[in-house]
Amino acid sequence: MREAMDAWTFVIASYAIGVGATAVMIAWSLITMKRAERRRDETRAR
């Protein structure tokens, strides 16, 4: 017997994980880039 499952629960979970993880990765890459370039510019100014 096949279980009755709401497919939308799986769809929403997939989108939340996929989009959320991608957004965190974009933010992390931009923040680390800005921080590293600021540090490089500070060592140049010293």
Binding site: E3, A7, F10, S14, G18, V19, A36, R39, T43
Partner: protein, 243 residues
């Protein structure tokens, strides 16, 4: 190609290319996922779960593309010793690992309602899991060989080249072995997918690929800036010791 290995020239190009890739990629991905989520009709056999494939397929492609990037950069590092090659390999690793993990998780979430199980140990799923473990191993090796001089510094590059053998195994696993996973739906010049699903899938794949390229460029800029700052601080410390 060799000209782009110059860090100053790379930075000049990356300064405008990174925001362009990131911006266009985010807009295209948002449109494609909205299209897949709200416009595309339910599929005859898969029903609503077909919408998961607009995330799963691009993630699978980018998981493999990330390792192909590591392998290409490793080859360039070993053969030509380009100064940017090791940085490019390191920049590909984290986004590649993340998309491999997204592929495995979304595949599992698709498999539960479609196949009735979260996981099967078939050739495609297992070789994709092996790819995730290869990424973890590569990242640990790259971290361990930071600041190491000589031949040991090239250990991640050798591992990157050897690990590339898993990419054709993933690709051909559905052809070589009897597996639960379906065979390729899109081959060169041919598609078994209806246009209603194909176009948003291609748009999502292109959008995520541009995001991946933007993240790799941002990571390369960060790693290059850190290296330059470290080198400058080391030079200053040496000069202070001499006086």
């Amino acid at each position: 190609m060799h000209g782009f290995a110059n860090p100053a020239r790379f930075l000049r190009i990356a300064r405008w290319l990174m925001p362009l890739c990131m911006g266009v990629g985010i807009v295209l991905t948002a449109v494609a996922l909205g299209w897949g989520l709200f416009v595309v009709p339910p599929e005859r056999l898969q029903g609503e779960t077909v919408r998961i494939l607009f995330l799963h397929v691009p993630a699978a492609w980018l998981g493999m593309a990330g390792w192909m990037g590591i392998a290409a950069a490793s080859f360039t590092e070993v053969v030509w010793r380009h100064p940017l090659a090791a940085i490019a390999a390191r920049a590909c690793a984290v986004p590649g690992a993340l998309f491999t993990a997204i592929c495995l998780v979304t595949g599992s979430l698709w498999g539960r309602p479609a196949w009735g199980t979260w996981w099967v140990w078939d050739g495609r799923l297992t070789s994709m899991l092996v790819l995730l473990f290869l990424y973890f191993g590569w990242l640990a090796l790259a971290r361990a060989s930071e600041g190491v001089e000589g031949g040991a510094a090239r250990a991640p590059a050798i591992f990157g080249l050897v690990g590339a053998v898993n990419i054709p195994i993933i690709h051909y696993s559905v052809i070589w072995w009897k597996v639960q996973h379906q065979p390729p739906s899109i081959t060169m010049g041919k598609s078994a997918i209806d246009g209603a699903f194909l176009w948003p899938l291609l748009a999502a794949t292109l959008g995520f690929t541009l995001i991946f390229a933007g993240v790799v460029l941002a990571r390369m800029r960060a790693l290059l800036a850190s290296q330059q700052a470290e080198a400058r601080l080391r030079r200053k410390a040496m000069a202070e010791v001499e006086f």
